[in-house]
Each structure stands twice: as C-alpha cells, then as structure tokens.
Amino acid sequence: MNSLFEYTLRLGDDSLMIGHRLSEWCGHGPILEEDIAMTNIALDFVGQATSLLELAGKFEGKGRSGDDLAFLRFDRDYKNVLLVEQPNVDFGVTMMRQFLFDAYRKPLFERLQYASNKEIAAIAEKSLKETKYHLRHSSEWVIRLGDGTEESHTRIQEALDNLWRYTGELFYSDDVDKELIAAGEIPSMDGLEKEWRQTVNEVLAEATLKIPESDWQFDGGRKGMHSEHLGYILTELQYMQRAYPGLEW
C-alpha cells in the first residue's frame, strides 16, 4: 500500500465530506450571520480538500488530479471517518458534529505542521489557522446551545448522544499511520486523543452537557465501509462528472 497516498486521501476526504455537509446549509441558516459563517467554513474545507486530494494524487503517481479523486471514485474508495458524513439534521447536530471534529483536527494539524514531509506540513500549517477559528466557532455554539434554553439543551444533548458513537474512529490507526511515523514522514500522534478529550471535557462541562455512558464506537470509514448517507452525498457530488464524463468546466 502507498501510505502517503492513503494518509492524505483520508485527510482530504474528511475535509471534502464535512465541507459538503456544511455547504448544504447555504441559504438556510438560523440567522444571516451563521449563514455567512457556515458558508465560509465550508469554503475552508473545500480548499483543504483541494490541496489534500491534489497532493494525494501526486503521491499516488498515476496522474489522478484532485478533481479525479473528489468526483470519480466509488464509495468504497472514500476514506473519511463516518462522523463527517452524518446528516445535518438541525443546527444543533451540525454544530456538535463540527465541534467533535474540530477538536480533533486542531491537535492533529498542530502535529502535522511539523511533519518532515514538507508538503503535508505546509497544508497542515495553513489549515491549522482555519481550524482554530472553526473550533472557536463550534465550541461557542455548543456552549450557547447547551447552556441556553431547556429546548436547546435537550436538542444538543441528544445530538451529542447520537454522534458520540462516531468519535472513536477519529483515533483509528493502522499500518498506514504506523509506517509514516516509523519512516519519519509524519510526527508521532501520542497524546492526540488525550488532547481531544480534554477540549471535549472542558467545552461540554461549560455547556452543561453529559458525555454518554455507552462506550460502543463505530468504525469503518477509514477502510471504506460507510453509512448509508455517503451514497446520497456521492449522488449529488458526482452528478455532473458522471453525467458528462471527461469535460472541462
């Protein structure tokens, strides 16, 4: 297996899918300021996906472009975590999904910005700036909704209960990561989960929310086994490229 390809593909697919989900909000946000914020964040993720998938194509060395990878794979070849493909449902679920993900992305990029692989490091450094803002934005909303009204508290607690099962996969690790760490391409990920957990504990405590007791965790996304939702995302995402193959747009 080409570990550099696989690793950047995973990162790129995470950005691609969460960006897609956020972009579905465009024009439908709960307030105009949030419509602007979510569109802006979606745009950051599309930008990250573009850089990461371009780089994955380069690592693969078979001439596939970022667009080829974004639009022309089958579902099993997408390697994003299940969390990012989960539906928006409502603003609470969207913000909780975002928070759980941003809290993982920040310490991840903090490590990757020092990767010996200069191309990965450069993308991580740029993305980290964006991620810090994303995390601030999503944390603030989790706190507001958790400690807002009774209704908002109930809704965001339910969002947490439902999404918690997808957080374990954020720390999925296999030969791909191990090989790159051993080869010195990327730094060690020691302490990543602990840092995530610390951010999550602090923000959820301030939000007066309770971490679910069940320890059951799903995975599969990193190996290409997705939830039913991915097929529908791909139907929209790939529509033009599948309907009109091989054209310039």
Binding site: P30, L53, D147, G148, E236, L247, W249
Partner: protein, 316 residues
Amino acid sequence: MKEEDRAILEQNFQAKIDNDIRIEPNDWMPDAYRETLIRQISQHAHSEIVGMLPEGNWITRAPNLRRKAVLLAKVQDEAGHGLYLYSATETLGADREDTIDDLHSGKAKYSSIFNYPTLSWADMGAIGWLVDGAAIMNQVPLCRCSYGPYARAMVRVCKEESFHQRQGFEIMMTLAKGSPEQKAMAQDALNRFWWPALMMFGPNDAESKHTAQSMKWKIKRHTNDELRQQFVDVTVPQAELIGLTVPDPDLKFNEQTGHYEYGEINWDEFWQVVKGNGPCNKERVDARRKAKEDGLWVREAATAYAAKKKLRKQAS
C-alpha cells in the same frame, strides 16, 4: 412642528440634495424619503438573501472543486451584501427582523429574477453574467445615491458584483467552447434568463411610479429604460463573442443611435411574477420562512445564554 418650519427643513434638505451633499442618518429628512429608502434598501437586501437560494441549489452539484469554491464564495458575498444592506435600513430606524417578516408575509418584494428555477449548471453562468451584470448597471449609479450609508454600502457591493459577473461570463465562455451538449446547456440558460434579466430594470419609464420622485431625491440617477438599454448594449456583443444567440428575433443594431433595438418585453409575465405567480415564488419565500422558523430555538438559546452570561458577570 409648524408648517413653515417644515417647509424650511424641506428646502434645506432639497438644497443639500441639489448640491450633491450626502444625507446622513442623523440629518433631518422628509418621511417619504425615509420610507422610500427603507422600501428600496430592504427590497435590495431581500433580493440578496433570496438570491442565495437559486445558486445555493447547485453548490453540492458543482462540477469541480474550483467551481464549487468560487460558487460558495459568491453566495457568501451575497449573504454579506444582505447584511450591510439590512444594517443600512437600520440607520433609517427600521428593524431588520420586521423587514424580514414583511418579506415572509409577501408585503415586501425582492427581485423577481430569483423566482425562476436553476435547472442546469449553466444557470450558474447565466446568473453571474446576466443577473449580476444587470445588478451592476442598477447599482453603480447607487454609489452616488444621496443617502450616505446606502451609497457607501454600494461601493463595496459593486466591487464584488463585478467579480461575480466575470466568473459567470467565464462559466458561459467555458461551456460555449466545450462539447455540443455544454454549448446547448449554455444556450438554453441564456434563452431562459435573457428576458427575465431585462425585466430586472423594472417597468417602462411611463409605467414606473417611483422613478420621478426618486430621481429628484437623487436616490436614482437613471431611468429604468436608460439602464436597460445600457445593459443590452453591453451584453449583446458579449453573447456574440462567445457564439451564443440572444433569444430575440427583433434584436438589431441601429447605426444611427449606436444602440441595439430589442423586442417587446412580456410585461404580463413580469406582473404575474411580481404578483407571486412565478415558477418559484412560493418555494423561495417558503424556504426563507422555514429557515427563520427552524432557527427560532437557536436564536432563543443564544439570547438566553447571553442573558445568563451577563447576570453571572454582574454577580461576580
């Protein structure tokens, strides 16, 4: 206020306008001037916000990552324009939420062009090229509007609109030089958006009830027909350049006037769409209303949290 005092204030006000001195929020202004501006600026703000929907419709289906990013950025700009425009109405004493409720109840209007559906990717090109192109014609003169906050908002809006117009034209150009099916897609979009774009300038001058007063107040600097002509004159050669045909059999260039003459606009269609009978009027307003209703619990939570935070700060 005494009648003679009011007459003096009105004279001073008109003298400022005549001397191209900007009116600012704290200056005295006639009620009708204030109301006209609130109506026009909030209508403009609503158009930006409703206008996010037909384009937002294609973000998840954009054909490549670059187009997706550009479209997201464009729709985000529109939300930003909506925000400054609502702020401009607030400088006149209007309440943003009240004006939005007027949109939802059907009392306030927005640009009718957004009541047409976006059926293909080429519509993203046609909207940028024609709709933003027409908006620029309308908005560039508004940068010199007599009301300061509106004029200043328009300076920034126009810069972004000109980028939108270029990206739309570039989409059309790419399609027009692409495969036969891409070219057909571009031509179809032009066919559907051409006449609605001409209607964006509003009724003929003889029918326009607000034009004369708005020109006297220098809210408006050109008539609807002047702006429409300018748009046709600029846009027809652009269509020719990329090999698309403007869907008007009566269109011809008049060497003597230096202008294009164009066919009769279907004003019945225009008034039907204004009255609410366009293909997407109901969907657009329903989508906006739903966003507001679905977001109610979020806004309530934000308010409740802010109040709690303030109390805690006072207590500590």
